[in-house]
Amino acid sequence: MNKRRFSLKFRLSTLWLFALGVLALGWTVPILWTLAVSIHSPDEPLSVANLWWGSHPTFSNYSQAFDIAPFAQYYLNTVLITLGILVVQLITICLAGYAFARFKFRGQNILFFLIMLQMMVPSSALIVPNYATIHALGVFDTLFAVMLPSFGSAFGTFLMRQTFKQIPRELDDAAKMDGANWLQTLWNVYIPPARPALIAFALSSISFHWNDFLWPLIVTNSPASRPLTVGLAVLTQLGEIGAQWPLVTAGTLIVVGPLLVIFLIFQRQFIDSFLHSGLK
């Protein structure tokens, strides 16, 4: 009886594994094909018979992509934007999360709700007035314009509030008795155990803002402030000619390549931090 049950279960598992494998392959094929076509010679048209890297693969598409758009500049911009946002966010969310977790002050529920509204009202729905605000502030077409709206993070504040709330109050009291002020307490008692949550937040903030498109599209105008996503989009909007797939795929890989490489190297940490961030 036991034996039969075991073998049935085993066969089912292999079947599932096989199906899973096919699915996983399907999930991976798009990026593999992109890679293959990016070294396809621009002198050969693509066809069913000529689908992958063609008869004489070349890296000229990459240099052509760099000729058309200053991707190096776009890289720098994207890194600056993403890091700039992250640094400010880390500061604001720790301060605000600490205040909401451990202080009692008048109007705190209303203020918390107001801040949480940011999570319920997506920034994409507010581009009309935000665009006008950027112009009014005179920062149109700057890296700053891309970063500004994200400096305050309701998601991060919420996350930190939850995380800080879970830290035993005895530690806080002990620090107070040792004469620590709020900053020292925050830094020494609250932040260290909140590391997993902070990392998870950092990763989600970085990937969100690295990949952001619509907002930077409308507030940047020149290569000096344009990030990678917008730069890539221009490559696909070359209206007078048709699609130059080897060129466009090369451009795409320029944009996602490093991201994927970093992700592949640090994937354990990436995924683990999401898993252990305590986001339930």
Binding site: L20, F103, F213, Q267, L275
Partner: protein, 294 residues
């Protein structure tokens, strides 16, 4: 014991939340009021100085068949991709929660698309959907399916975008479900198995209810994400063919930036916000009710 700061430092908590509050006020709360205000005015290329018009913008939108199509497309997209990707993500998480050697690789394969910018994913899929040599058609031809003009056929274009959306987001939701599953106590499953429950039964009666919190969280993100679809429309279809992929946020972008109709674009923003607020408030209340804190 909550801190009760000495009188002089009573302002401390307010100062601590001030930076966050400042940015939220300037870039979320004030614009929210502003966009509602602007939606009550007509302001476009013909009427450059705003004129008060009450609910005229909203009426014009709802009476326009093009906008009704937009609402319809958006709702269809949400109603199909959210359950599909959530269920898919949950199934994947269940399967990949078991211990086996290559499970890390599988997780990677499904998760990496969510690391890509949507414009890159859209560019890749724009290529994949090409009639003739696009990989999707080549793959389907092995099953005898005729060549399809995915992005040029009104009935296929939106499904094409949906497939892209599911491909991109499922892995991300899967991770959240994995996290949820890992937090489940093992002993319940042990006793269930001893009682003779099948895998399917334990999933249905134990796992699912315990994962309610995660499920609600994932569906909320998924819905907001679906409503915000714009990058792939911009890259792949520009709303076509015949407006079959015109979605709310993209249409709003077009209305503002191509037609310079600030009044209508603001009205669309209000509609989008209203739809999202209703949904997320319901979800938020539910989650808070079901959640437990230490």
């Amino acid at each position: 014991m909550m801190r009760r700061p000495p009188n002089g430092a009573a302002a401390l908590p307010y100062l601590l939340i001030l930076p966050t509050l400042f940015f939220v006020v300037v870039f979320t709360l004030w614009p929210l009021i502003r966009v509602i205000y602007d939606s009550l005015f007509v302001e476009n290329q013909a009427v450059q100085v705003p004129q008060f018009a009450g609910l005229e913008n909203f009426l014009a939108l709802f009476m326009s068949s093009a906008f009704r199509d937009v609402l319809y497309n958006t709702l269809i997209y949400v109603v199909i991709t959210v359950p599909a990707s959530t269920l898919f993500a949950l199934s994947l998480a269940l399967m990949l929660n078991r211990e086996f050697k290559t499970r890390g690789l599988f997780r990677l394969a499904f998760f990496y698309p969510s690391m890509l910018p949507m414009v890159s994913a859209a560019t890749i899929f724009l290529f994949m959907y090409t009639p003739g040599y696009g990989l999707i058609n080549v793959f389907l031809s092995f099953f005898g399916v005729a060549d399809q003009n995915w992005l040029g056929t009104p009935s296929l274009a939106l499904p094409a975008l949906m497939i892209l959306g599911i491909w991109k987001q499922t892995g991300f939701y899967m991770i959240f479900f994995l996290a949820g599953l890992q937090g489940l106590p093992h002993d319940i499953f042990e006793s269930a198995r001893l009682d003779g429950a099948s895998t399917l039964q334990s999933i249905r009666y134990i796992t699912m209810p315990l994962l309610m919190g995660t499920t609600l969280f994932v569906t909320t993100i998924a819905v907001v994400n679906a409503f915000e679809t714009v990058d792939q429309v911009y890259i792949m279809t520009s709303g076509g063919p015949v407006n079959s992929t015109s979605m709310l946020l993209f249409n709003m972008y077009e209305t503002l930036f191509n037609y310079l109709d600030i009044g209508k674009a603001s009205a669309m923003s209000v509609i989008l916000i209203a739809m999202l607020l209703i949904f997320t408030t319901i979800n938020f209340i539910n989650t808070e009710r079901n959640a437990t804190y230490e």
